[in-house]
């Protein structure tokens, strides 16, 4: 595939995934911070602060999960290589 085209596809995919992450984050933080009591339309200060912290935490969790997934998939690859080497020499 043309490298420019590949770059464009990767960028499109990234945008799509960021949008998906944003939607999930919105849902999760709304569930955690905004109780379903609809007497008032304004958000309280506590709810606003909760939402700020929730977003900060969610983004940190996202980064942490990415690192953990990479680490786990590398471990799996190494294990597979060792198994293949083991069957090759046997």
């Amino acid at each position: 595939m043309d490298p420019l085209r590949a770059q464009q596809l990767a960028a499109e995919l990234e945008v799509e995934m960021m949008a998906d992450m944003y939607n999930r984050m919105t849902q999760a933080c709304h569930r955690k911070c905004v109780p379903p009591y609809y007497k008032e339309s304004e958000l309280s200060k506590g709810e606003c602060v909760c939402l700020d912290r929730c977003v900060a935490k969610y983004l940190e969790v996202h980064e942490r999960m990415g690192k953990k997934l990479t680490e786990l998939s590398l471990q799996d690859e190494e294990l597979l290589k060792r198994m293949q080497q083991g069957t090759g020499t046997a």
Partner: protein, 107 residues
């Protein structure tokens, strides 16, 4: 026009789902902006457990699916066999062979 690899897309979707799932179950204390130690260890365990559970599920699925598909195919053949006999003396035609009943069925 080709899209980015479907495996990469699936992987990234799984990544997002895992983030949401582990966030929901591990992050309960919104009094601080940073993750607490307890939350961090919960998240690490959550990620590892999800990945290992997925591997195990895949193994079980790959082990059970062929037998299930074979059984389904055998049931199909058993159902098609007796139904095909009274209609025509010839055996049921395959998809490539023209069937004498096809034009009548098409109209």
């Amino acid at each position: 026009m080709t899209r980015a690899s479907p495996q990469l897309r699936d992987f990234l979707l799984v990544y997002n789902r895992m983030t949401e799932f582990c966030f929901r179950h591990c992050v309960c204390n919104l009094n601080y902006r940073l993750l607490t130690g307890r939350e961090e260890s919960c998240l690490d365990s959550c990620a590892a457990r999800l990945v290992r559970a997925n591997h195990r599920l895949m193994g079980a699925y790959v082990g059970l699916m062929p037998a299930l598909l074979q059984r389904r195919a055998a049931e199909h053949e058993a159902a098609a066999g007796p139904a095909g006999l009274p209609d025509s003396p010839e055996p049921a035609p395959g998809p490539a062979e023209p069937s004498p009943a096809a034009p009548a069925a098409g109209t």
